[in-house]
């Protein structure tokens, strides 16, 4: 019916375009309701302490203050005062103890924003300090202070890769991957590489900081929030207030940047508690500094060994990973498992051993950030390919080619075989970068990755066909800027045989739309897109049924036509069928669901391919790196909207460059030294590479609609390793620690000179 595609595969303009360029697009931060009060957070000034006393009297007596809340109030009221989608250990407000500098200790609710902020200053918290542990390696030591003597209840479901149980000390998560006889393989190797690699703690800086608006409507909790995963937040809130899921509504209007940082619950519990205790609608808007104190990404230290034969074949790899998880579990078990899966690369590895441990520390809790686990692990795995190539005298692209798995080949036992032709992608990349280069003073770095993406493939969607033949799509996927409303609209238009302008979208509101597990892991086009297809097909089936009844024609004689049906040589639009059946008015509803079955039976639902590289120069005087060229290959199976794919690749690669060259959250003692975007430097216009090329590889090999598969993370996952390898080839020493700041590069250049002497 849609062999000749009209809408899917075109760079259709974004459906949110006019709203976003005119300033009309409404984000949670723009919402208000009559009678709204404002909340302000009191934060811990200690990294690790018992709370001896919280004196709220002065704050409560401040002008305009409605209520001052502490964790104890939540307990006393019988609420579940913790949240967490894997382990229920994150207090909404600290209870008895604080575990990081900046942790929410109390909440002040007042008539105005200013009154709330001023009263928050008046809350007096007395602490009995405890020894703190900031560094992940220190947290491993037997005499380290323990953050969680008692573990929270495990509440994660089947769909979450949680790693091992039986965790002790400060170990938040352990994941092991492996096969073959690693030790024997190392013994017979021609070349063994050994090194330690470090990836920094990062702040995603979604420009709309975390915020929420909460109120109770006849006993139902309603929360508007900047959340990515509205259904995950709904679950936390229902548990907290002991409400049925049906009586909690979480809605995310436009979201000002996500990148994973807005996955899972952040400020929604606090805001809803404020509404519960005051009986008023309450708004809580965090500042950027507070957002930094809410979620970061996990840093990693990886000891990696790789064994090669003389002709450059991988014999074995061995990774020992230690990550800094921060104070609470949040998404750490998943990030930890993904790091273990994503460090060794899409290669034929006869023997593998990976052990990843994530450690509780008295630092800001870490959670998801674009590609999680992949950028951290990729630098170790890919940089060792470059270092081995240099030692073996084999071209680094050729070395990768010799080891890379082909299309349909399994590289993780029991998992989906590779759904891509990564060798061909790498050839395209190398050619676009004019590998191996040759411009004096410049150097090329590149890398590949195949991430087990998509998360657990539970997704549903609904479409309503109206009596004027227009269609509304209902999806639980949230629009974070990635263009989900546009791409999903294109799928609807394609499936229903309608112009894009006839399709409306309602998204990200649990009170209205159908279930969607998450908006993350690059899943929306692939998994939600399949649910949308199914919903459209269901709706068309119903239209045929109605037509058969209304026209009194056998069902077999009714065929689909563009925007309607064909029967005995004449065509009727959807609207005409609806009106014939109902007599007046009416509509048709279609529902679609996908689950871990059929095309998605095998995990992961798809691999997200990373294949990007760059050319750079280094200022010999200052160590400053300049990117002269950036190239990405978007291996997306089929680009339903090519311009949106390029946008995802460009954004991911630029974020990768930020981490590779500038970004790092630094702890100075027990608190962050740079919790603001002056001192934490994200890429700016001046960091734009001189030349940017985005390529597409479309082989219809994805499990999504029309052979599509996800984008949004891959292009960034390899950038850290690519920057390090390019710098290494240029200056003679490979950086093992990111970001490659001017100072670090300068130091490495001195090292390289010494090596020569």
């Amino acid at each position: 019916m849609t062999e000749d595609r009209k809408v899917a595969g075109t760079s259709a303009r974004r459906v949110d375009g006019v709203a976003k360029v005119t300033g009309a697009a409404r984000y949670t931060v723009d919402l208000s309701v009559p009678g709204m009060a404002y909340a302000s957070v009191v934060r811990s000034t200690r990294a690790h302490a018992r709370i001896a006393n919280i004196d709220t009297a002065a704050a409560a007596a401040s002008p305009g203050v409605l209520r001052v809340l502490t964790g104890q109030d939540l307990l006393t009221a019988g609420l579940t005062p913790y949240y967490g989608h894997v382990v229920l250990d994150h207090p909404v407000l600290a209870i008895d103890r604080v575990r990081f500098h900046g942790e929410p200790v109390a909440l002040v609710v007042a008539e105005t924003r200013r009154e709330a902020a001023e009263a928050a200053e008046a809350v007096d918290v007395a602490y009995d300090e405890l020894p703190a542990v900031i560094d992940a390696d220190d947290a491993l030591k037997t005499d380290a202070p323990i953050l969680h003597e008692q573990r929270g209840e495990r509440v994660g479901d089947e769909g979450m890769d949680q790693g091992e149980g039986g965790l002790v000390g400060n170990v938040c998560a352990i994941a092991r991957v492996g096969w073959g006889d690693v030790d024997a393989a190392f013994k017979k190797a021609h070349l063994v590489l050994e090194g330690e690699y470090r990836y920094p703690k990062l702040y995603g800086y979604a420009m709309e900081p975390y915020n929420a608006l909460a109120f109770f409507d006849q006993g139902d909790l309603v929360v508007f929030s900047s959340a990515q995963h509205v259904y995950m937040v709904r679950r936390d809130l229902a548990r907290m207030f002991h409400l049925p899921l049906a009586r909690v509504r979480v809605s995310a209007p436009y979201v000002g940047g996500g990148y994973g940082t807005k996955s899972y619950t952040k400020v929604e519990g606090m805001t809803a508690a404020a509404a519960h205790f005051t009986g008023r609608p309450v708004k809580l808007d965090l500042s950027v500094e507070e957002a930094i104190l809410t979620t970061r990404s996990a840093s990693a230290r990886i000891r990696a060994r790789s064994a090669f034969s003389a002709d450059g074949l991988l014999l074995a790899r061995d990774f020992e990973i230690v990550m800094n998880a921060g104070a609470y579990t949040d998404n750490t078990p998943l990030v930890n498992s993904k790091t273990a899966n994503r460090c060794f690369g899409p290669y034929r590895i006869p023997a593998l051993r990976v052990v990843a441990r994530s450690m509780f520390t008295n630092t800001v809790p870490s959670s998801s950030l674009r590609g999680f686990g992949a950028p951290q692990g990729n630098i170790a795995g890919e940089l060792q390919m470059d270092e081995a190539a240099a030692k073996l005298g084999i071209d680094p692209v050729e070395l990768r080619m010799r080891n890379m798995v082909g299309p349909g080949e399994e590289f993780m036992p029991g998992k989906r075989p590779l759904d891509s032709d990564l060798r061909d992608d790498l050839r395209c990349l190398a050619s676009a970068l004019e590998w191996p280069g040759g411009t004096i003073g410049r150097s090329i770095g590149l890398g590949v990755s195949a991430s087990d993406a998509g998360a657990y493939p539970t997704s549903t969607a609904a479409v309503r066909i109206h009596s004027d033949t227009s269609v509304t799509l209902f999806t639980g996927s949230t629009e974070l800027g990635q263009g989900s409303r546009t791409v999903l609209s294109q799928i609807v238009a394609e499936e229903m045989g309608l112009p894009l302008g006839s399709v409306g979208v309602v998204s990200g509101d649990t009170g209205v739309v159908t279930y969607e597990r998450t908006t993350g892991a690059s899943r929306t086009t692939t998994i939600t897109g399949r649910a949308v297809q199914e919903a459209c097909r269901d709706a068309r089936r119903r239209v045929r049924d109605l037509a058969a009844q209304a026209l009194e024609v056998p069902l077999a004689e009714i065929e689909d036509a563009a925007g309607g049906i064909r029967v005995r040589g004449s065509e009727l639009s959807y609207g005409e069928v609806i009106e014939r059946w109902f007599g007046a008015g009416g509509e048709v509803l279609g529902h679609g669901a996908v689950r871990r079955a059929e095309g998605f039976a095998m995990m992961p639902p798809f691999y997200e391919i990373g294949c990007s590289g760059l050319e750079l120069s280094v200022d010999r005087e200052t160590g400053q790196v300049h990117i002269t060229k950036l190239t990405t290959v978007g291996d997306v199976g089929f680009a339903i909207n090519p311009a949106l794919v390029h946008g995802q690749d460009a954004g991911a690669a630029m974020m990768g460059l930020g981490a590779a060259l500038h970004e790092e959250l630094v702890y100075d003692g027990e608190q962050l030294a740079n919790p603001n975007v002056v001192d934490y430097r994200v890429p700016r216009f001046s960091d734009l590479p001189d030349q940017v090329i985005h390529l597409l590889a479309e082989r219809r090999d994805g499990s999504g609609p029309y052979g599509a598969k996800g984008a949004g993370e891959g292009a960034g996952n390899t950038i850290g390793g690519a920057v390090a390898s390019a710098i290494g080839r240029l200056i003679g020493v490979f950086p093992h620690e990111l970001p490659a700041t001017p100072e670090r590069v300068w130091q490495l250049m001195r090292q390289a000179e010494k090596k020569k002497d």
Binding site: V21, T22, G204, Y205, M207, G481, V678
Partner: protein, 158 residues
């Protein structure tokens, strides 16, 4: 603290607004429903809150409302002529020069000030002029392309 009435030309219309001495310009514009102007870094480095004050781009998060007394203020809402978008807005849509859109109003307003001052900027000048605006989504190239497209559009319309 003092309250006073100020008089400004907001997106071309005369407007009298009562403000406190400490009211920030962003509070003023958002307070009258012009929610396109966004707060982010609150430190004058991200540009999301940019408005034009007397034709010059300023960070409204760190500008007092009283500074706008007697002056023209232009926000993102002032660019389109009814349903007819400004060439910058058209170009941003055409070039996919935004994703989440949170930084977009500030970026378009900053770019408008550039094109008002220099109708024929090169790519280098655009990059330099826009240095005070952060975008976390796009990677910047499409924004530079859109501003150059809009400049050409405005020149040919003259």
């Amino acid at each position: 603290m003092g309250r006073r009435e100020i008089h400004l030309q907001l997106n071309g219309g005369d407007r009298r607004v009562e403000v406190e001495d400490q009211t920030l310009l962003i509070e003023l514009v958002r307070g009258v429903g012009l929610i396109g102007t966004k707060l982010s870094c609150d430190m004058q480095v991200c540009g999301a809150c940019t408005v034009l004050l007397d034709g010059r781009p300023v960070s409204s998060c760190t500008t007092l409302a009283i500074e706008a007394d007697g002056k023209p203020v232009e926000t993102i809402e002032g660019l389109a002529d009814g349903a007819k978008l400004h060439p910058l807005q058209e170009a941003f849509i055409e070039r996919f020069a935004f994703q989440c859109g949170y930084c977009t109003p500030g970026i378009i307003v900053t770019a408008k000030a550039l094109l008002d001052a220099d109708p024929e900027p090169g790519a280098e000048k655009v990059r330099h002029w826009m240095e005070g605006n952060i975008c976390r989504c796009t990677g910047y190239q499409t924004i530079v392309d859109a501003v150059l497209d809009a400049a050409e559009q405005l020149r040919s319309a003259r």
